[in-house]
Amino acid sequence: MDLESELRKAMAERVAEATAPDSLAADVKRRHRRRAARIRVTVGAAAAAVAAIALVPTYQSFRATPAGAPGTAAPPDRASVLRQPERPPARGVPTSPSPSGRPGTGTSPKPPDARPSGGTGGHTARPGAPGGVPALPGWVSYLPRGLTATAPCAVADGAGRKTTTCAWRGSAGWVEIAVVRDSGLGPEDLAPMRGVPGHASVRGMPALTADAPDSGRQISWLARPGVGVVVKAGGGTARNELLRIAEGVRP
């Protein structure tokens, strides 16, 4: 038996009826187009993911530019009570309790009524505070050293809107914090009255910055629906710490 010739015949018999479909070339082209499209989609998705990962933090960092000063880090000669909890409050220097009331983070327990309120001016006296001088409200956790409250917080109530305004003055400059409560309060109500507003963020919430009177700067934001905050600071080092002061306001 000639195996080679038998093998040739067997192969010929086996594939005698095999014919390529007429659409073979079109099928191949379609397959190629699908593959190319799949690669393009994959590359596009990968590029979009990389761009999103790379660009979003950059964009956020641009949006969250410090409001009033080139730097937000506190100078070494001044620090908040939060950073030096063991230091007793100095006479005439405003101090603040821990906003969260966690043990070891403040010098005194948080007052039961920490929100601005009418009647008493929205502040509470605390141990160690100088007599006759209003202490720091519980909803303000940071002020630069050298500031003293000039008067109790003022409350203005009218037309469904209640505004609590507290002010401090001293060698570090001046700071004024206003908390506005109104059920219909919107961002436009907090827009600065003068200058071109800029964008910033306070604890992740979008905020508007602008110049304030007396060479000051101001920042305003909606802390939550119906509650807005306007912080103004000027003179001395207070202006440079505007954003840090704003971060410490928790109405």
Binding site: L3, E6, R8, L24, V28, R31, H32
Partner: protein, 207 residues
């Protein structure tokens, strides 16, 4: 079993991932690359003409290499798609069929190796073998094809290229990317194995 073929004179790995298997090999060497810019390249129309003219032959080769018609069509489409990617780089005055055939052979061998691994994992016992038919002499060629399919992918490719495509040993070696000596030994072993198995099957009939 397929991996046992070769014994020290293996061909170079002919997987479809090797550049030799997918890149056009008909482009001239770097030394003459300056002259290639003026050469005419193949276009889309020539691809359609090539597939129309040689589709049947390639499908038959693929059928013999794969053993199953559906697999052969799929393999052929994959091979043609790989060739189509680089079609514009092929010289218009050179026959593209050896290039396509080489891709096809490499694809089939690679796939057979993958499938063999799967089969070894999944089948814990020997598969049942069909009983010898009473009309075995008539089915000689069918038995021959069955035994051909049981050969390793490389031996099967050598036999198909040598006895179906009628390629010379040198051409077969070029397609497989191995030496002529390897082709000779693979063909010899493949034929010997076929003869041995056929003798076993045909002995009861006195053929």
């Amino acid at each position: 079993m397929p991996r046992s073929s070769g014994h020290g004179q293996e061909c170079e790995p002919p997987g479809e991932h090797t550049r030799a298997g997918t890149e056009p090999t008909q482009a001239p060497a770097d030394g003459s690359r300056a002259g290639t810019k003026s050469r005419q390249r193949r276009d889309d129309r020539s691809f359609v003409e090539f597939v129309t003219a040689r589709g049947d032959a390639l499908l038959r080769t693929a059928s013999l290499l794969c053993g199953a018609r559906q697999d052969a069509e799929d393999m052929l489409q994959t091979a043609l798609e790989k060739a189509y990617r680089h079609w514009g780089r092929l010289d218009a005055d050179v026959d593209p069929e050896p290039y396509v055939r080489r891709i096809l052979v490499n694809l089939v061998i690679s796939r057979s190796r993958r499938w063999n691994v799967l089969r070894e994992i999944q089948m814990a016992w020997l598969p049942e073998t069909p009983a010898v038919s009473a009309n075995h002499a008539v089915e000689l060629r069918g038995t021959l094809m069955d035994e051909l399919r049981r050969l390793g992918p490389r031996q099967r490719a050598v036999l198909v290229l040598r006895f179906w495509e009628d390629l010379s040993e040198a051409e077969t070696a070029k397609v497989l990317g191995c030496s002529v000596g390897t082709v000779k030994s693979q063909a010899s072993r493949g034929l010997a194995r076929l003869r041995e198995r056929l003798d076993e099957n045909l002995a009861p009939l006195g053929s």
